[in-house]
């Protein structure tokens, strides 16, 4: 029996993840692949908020950074087990996201973008200035991840872990989208008033998905801290937030596989821009603008629409 159609893309991706190591010839290649996977997971979560529920966050790097530093500080300075520290990050970020979203999302209009922009900046400034705990702009070292006495080391092991987590998060996202909760989220985007008159508490759903997407970022921040072993406040800054939003917009809002492609392209891109690094911010901004003008639906949805028109 074939698996349900909704999972076909997932199987294809699993296959790609399995054969990819044949082409990864050194640890640097693995490292790039791992960062693609990490970004992909973050934007799968962010896309639930932006693409499906139609709410904008310009501060998700803040949640990523907060997760990373919670893990870093608790494991390095207080010898917490990494998994527990990761959980503490989730609770902290979840609570913070809830406290911010609760008053903001009650207001009509796009205040969330403004509020998250401010929140992201505050987080990144706090991480830079509280150097007693964070090491300040110079960053801090973070011990490796260990689980039940098993220490996760080396690019190859991390590759498989991130690969599995990517498949898991896509599976969860696909399930969510095609469920009553997912329809409620999409209805919030499609027509908030229509959603309300059929009994959907739209504010509650907006808060819920904002918190969930923040938690995605926090978890990946924690894992990134352990994987790289060294973090600086740069991971929480505004530019990183814009990178994440650009991945969603370029790949395709409301397309889970689209945003994975967006993460793939935009994580690889800087590798080719090594000698024009100072223009990186500009190039990302340009990609964002050009996509919004010429490919408002994003890469994958546009390709799918083209193919449909071609076969029809």
């Amino acid at each position: 029996m074939l698996p349900p159609k909704r999972y076909h893309g997932l199987l294809l991706l699993a296959f790609i993840i399995m054969i990819l190591p044949l082409f990864l010839t050194n640890n640097f290649h693995y490292d790039v692949a791992i960062h693609i996977g990490i970004n992909a997971i973050v934007v799968v979560g962010l896309n639930l908020l932006i693409g499906y529920a139609g709410q904008i966050s310009l501060g998700h790097a803040g949640f990523f950074g907060l997760g990373a530093y919670t893990s870093g500080i608790l494991t390095a300075n207080y010898a917490w087990p990494p998994l527990l520290a990761l959980g503490a990050g989730v609770i902290l970020v979840g609570l913070l996201a809830f406290l911010v979203a609760h008053p903001i999302l009650r207001l009509k209009g796009h205040y969330l973008a403004m509020a998250t922009l401010g929140l992201g900046m505050i987080i990144s400034i706090v991480l830079s200035t509280e150097d007693r705990y964070t090491g300040g702009p110079d960053g801090m070292t973070v011990p490796s991840f260990s689980l039940f006495g098993w220490e996760i080391l080396g690019e190859q092991n991390w590759y498989w872990i991130i690969g599995c987590l990517l498949l898991l998060s896509i599976w969860l996202a696909l399930n969510l989208i095609d469920s009553p909760v997912g329809r409620a989220l999409r209805a919030v985007h499609g027509s908030e008033v229509a959603a309300q008159v059929v009994g959907i508490d739209t504010i509650r759903y907006k808060i819920l998905i904002f918190v969930i997407s923040a938690i995605f970022a926090s978890i990946m921040g924690s894992l990134t801290a352990h994987y790289t072993g060294f973090i600086t406040p740069v991971i929480a800054d505004f530019f990183h937030s814009i990178e994440l939003v650009t991945m969603v917009v370029l790949g395709g809002m409301a397309s889970t596989f689209g945003v994975v492609i967006g993460a793939f392209i935009l994580t690889l891109l800087p590798q080719f821009l090594a000698n024009v690094e100072e223009y990186e911010v500009m190039i990302f901004g340009l990609i964002l603008i050009l996509t919004m003008i010429f490919l408002p639906k994003g890469l994958l949805p546009t390709l799918i629409a083209l193919k449909k028109r071609h076969t029809a």
Partner: protein, 250 residues
Amino acid sequence: MSLLKIEGLTKTFGGVHAIEDLSFTIQAGTIHSVIGPNGAGKTTLFNLITGIYAPTSGKILLEGWDIAHKPPYELAKLGLCRTFQNLQICFNMTAIENVMMGSHLHLNTSFLAALFRFPTLSQGDHECREQAAELMKLVGLSKYITADADSLPYGALKRLEIARALATSPRLLLLDEPAAGLNPKETAEIDEVIQKICQSGVTILLVEHDMKLVMNISDHILVLDYGKKLAEGKAEEIRNNTAVIEAYLG
């Protein structure tokens, strides 16, 4: 038995009285129509009853309970649902998903169950889809069951809104100009659909400009003019009311 009772309802915007000291009663199981020229306050009345606007003063009693100031999603739980004069379709979904979202209150909306796709949830979702397909057939949309919402023509979208509202299993259904922009054949079909819905036990509050349709199917008609009640009564009473003829029917 009266299902809905409006008492001294007033809504002002700036200095404009969109609805002014309006009182009337809707009997359960009937088709109750509201007519009046553009700007008379019909849509505002709907927005007040469904909780989209809060009244400036007055009461809205559903079986004796004051429901004014309750948010729309709470009112949906009490069995109120509506369609919109200006379409409110979710174009980011398929046509049938627009109807399925109407079943929201009757489905398992647990977040964990959704994430892990618990078998009970997929079962419920499957039944919901079949029900939605039935409702689409009922309103004459069988050929759009697999279509995207943005591929439907205007007349079909109007009916899609009715199907979505029906999916909530309402007790009181408010239809805001369901025949606007439809050709005579489509209007006749809507006419039939509304009567069918009423026969299934749903009370209907209808705003409509098509006089033939209104006279044809209404048990009771309320005439609004500048937010105030101009006349009220059975179809033939309204047809022969001189004030109404002067103000509206011409």
